[in-house]
């Protein structure tokens, strides 16, 4: 059984009088432990797909299951608890809370668990260590570089040990060097810690590091072998 099962999903948005059909019967499986890159032109529905998996949005029709649980059927409050437990989300624009230190930002997801202060402290330290920012714990986001901010966001996404990491163009605002650092980090999280990673990206380097590349085109899936993806550069 695949970790993420998307079955015959329809999703449309209403914008004024116009209806935008993003997905019309999408079916897709993503296995546990995989590193999947979602590619495709802008507007093809990549972010929408990520939001559906995270339970941030609901399909118009069809089901989304993660780890056997029907995400598309849950209530808002069930979703909040489920997301806290199973999803680590990383945004293109980092989205750290500016008034909290790196440490406090990373600790946020743990405030939703029953862990004691001491256990939280240990976990945050480990997460910051993994992303190589142990010495930046007390820095505020504005005191960090873009790459450091994004690595802090990744620490925040992994600290509660989620089932799936979802990343929406995580290197979109980073320079080449920082992008490489972030991608290497993701690869390590996947290989060393067997994290399941789904990353939306335009970056061919990112696709190279992924184990599987999915192309979305106008809401349809074009599965291409890795070699082709690399050749497309």
């Amino acid at each position: 059984m695949a970790l993420v099962e998307i079955r015959d999903v329809y999703k449309s948005f209403q914008r004024d009088t116009q209806r935008i059909d993003v997905f019309t019967g999408l079916t897709l499986d993503i296995d546990a432990g995989s590193f999947t890159a979602l590619m495709g032109p802008s507007g093809s529905g990549k972010s929408t797909l990520l939001n559906l998996i995270a339970g941030l949005d609901k399909p118009t029709r069809g089901t989304v299951r993660v780890g056997g649980e029907a995400v598309s059927e849950m209530s808002a409050s069930q979703l909040a608890a489920w997301r806290a437990r199973h999803i680590g989300f990383v945004f293109q624009s980092f989205n750290l809370l500016p008034v909290l230190t790196a440490y406090q930002n990373v600790e946020l997801p743990l405030l939703l668990t029953r862990l004691s202060g001491k256990e939280r402290n240990e976990r945050v330290k480990i997460a910051l260590d993994v992303v190589g920012l142990a010495d930046r714990a007390d820095h505020y986001p504005r005191q960090l570089s873009g790459g450091q901010e994004q690595r802090t966001a990744i620490a925040r996404a992994i600290v509660a040990d989620p089932t799936v990491m979802l990343l929406d163009e995580p290197t979109g605002q980073l320079d080449a060097k920082s992008s490489q650092e972030v991608l290497a980090l993701l690869q390590r999280l996947n290989s060393e810690f067997t994290k399941t990673i789904i990353i939306v990206t335009h970056d061919a380097h990112a696709a190279e590091r992924a184990k599987m590349v999915l192309h979305l085109e106008k809401g349809d899936l074009i599965e291409k072998p890795r070699a082709t993806a690399a050749a497309m550069r």
């Binding site: 409050s77 997301r83 989300f89 989205n95 809370l97 500016p98 008034v99 909290l100 997801p109 939703l112």
Partner: protein, 386 residues
């Protein structure tokens, strides 16, 4: 729960809007505390006037000393009553009193006339009223046109210093002393000998008779005995209750006004808070989106922003309390509507009042923060993050 440090730091990050909102709340709280301090001071002045151990006798049906009248015979019957305490010299502690209002021009603006109480007392009165203390000079000598002036009058009316001469009721009166009375309404009175005032004012009647009870617990007995006495047509009040009663009308009106006026002002302050919070939430929509994405529930977002609004209001409440503190002790005066006399009293800002002010501030904050916080809690994650 979303950590409160998130809200505190967010508030500190926008000092100008925070300060303005807090200032609005603070102003309302200051006015609120100030007006209640006024009502408080007024009540306290009258409450302290009466003593628990004294009984006040008025003509039956009279609701104030002004409308009462009692003959000399009543005074002697009461002096002989067994409930009345006796002094060291074995004489009963009774003060049959003359009570009149005289118009006096104020010191700073002599065109302003105030009604001042003139009280003619027996020489026992100084013992009956244990809160009255002479602060300067000597008590008026029996048989002479001399008066003693309450300490609240001396600054506000001319010719009230010891050795000066007051002119009223067609005669000159030498001021021989000043007295204090623990901040009570007596401090706004002029005292002299009852036998001196009787002929120049209303003739051979007293307005009230106050006596010290042998045992404060026997008040009910004394009241029953005197009111049942066929020779008398009197009402007997416990002195403390009588004055507390007198403060009720004006005290309640002052409190009502305080709540009315600050209620209206509070609407303004609440709108200030609403504005600030809507602006804060609009500019932090992505942050709210992140919190919701991480799995914080919408109601914790609601609580978080309510707390933020309440926090700003608490700053305002503290400011308001600080603004109101200098009022404490300032002397002002009003006409007591129960006796039509001028009473001076001080603003009383008490710790309890400061606490009420702070709670009032928090209420304004929570009310003002509610709808903005509700909007924050209802944000759609995907929209908020765009």
């Amino acid at each position: 729960m979303i950590p409160i440090v998130y809200n505190v730091r967010s508030v500190v990050r926008r000092p100008v809007s925070t300060a303005l909102t807090a200032l609005g709340v603070g102003l309302v709280v200051a006015v609120f505390i100030g007006m209640l301090a006024l009502a408080n001071g007024f009540r306290a002045a009258l409450a302290k006037t009466g003593s628990n151990t004294n009984a006040l006798v008025l003509r039956k049906g009279a609701d104030s000393e002004l409308s009462s009248g009692l003959g000399r015979d009543v005074a002697s019957i009461i002096a002989a009553d067994p409930h009345v305490a006796t002094g060291a010299d074995n004489r009963p502690l009774v003060s049959p009193e003359v009570y009149v209002l005289i118009p006096l021009a104020k010191a700073f603006d002599t065109t302003q006339i105030a009604n001042v109480v003139v009280r003619g007392v027996s020489d026992q009165a100084w013992q009956v009223r244990s809160n009255v203390k002479i602060t300067a000079g000597q008590r008026p000598t029996s048989g002479r046109p001399e008066v003693c002036v309450g300490s609240r009058l001396t600054k506000r009316f001319p010719h009230t210093g010891v050795g000066q001469t007051l002119h009223f009721a067609g005669r000159d009166w030498t001021v021989t002393c000043q007295f204090s009375a623990a901040g009570s309404a007596f401090e706004s009175e002029i005292w002299g000998e009852n036998e001196q005032f009787m002929p120049v004012f209303r003739g051979d009647v007293f307005q009230s008779i106050t006596f010290r009870l042998k045992d404060p617990a026997t008040f009910d007995d004394a009241q029953r005995a005197l009111q049942a006495d066929k020779r008398l047509t009197v009402d007997v009040h416990r002195e403390s209750e009588f004055y507390a009663q007198q403060s009720q009308l004006l005290g309640n009106i002052l409190s009502f006004l305080a709540i009315m006026i600050t209620g209206i002002m509070a609407v303004g302050a609440v709108f200030g808070a609403i504005n600030t919070m809507y602006a804060a939430i609009a500019s932090r929509a992505p942050e709210i989106g992140v919190l919701l994405t991480l799995g914080f529930r919408p109601w914790t977002v609601l609580v978080s922003f309510l707390a933020e609004s309440a926090f700003i209001a608490v700053i305002g409440g503290v400011l308001g309390g600080l603004f109101s503190l200098p009022l404490n002790g300032i002397v002002t005066s009003t006409t007591n509507w129960s006796s039509f006399s001028e009473i001076a009293f001080s603003f009383r800002v008490t710790p309890a009042l400061l606490l009420v002010g702070l709670i009032f501030a928090v209420v304004m904050g929570v009310v003002g923060g509610f709808f903005p916080a509700l909007r924050a809690a209802r944000l759609q994650v995907v929209q908020a993050l765009r």
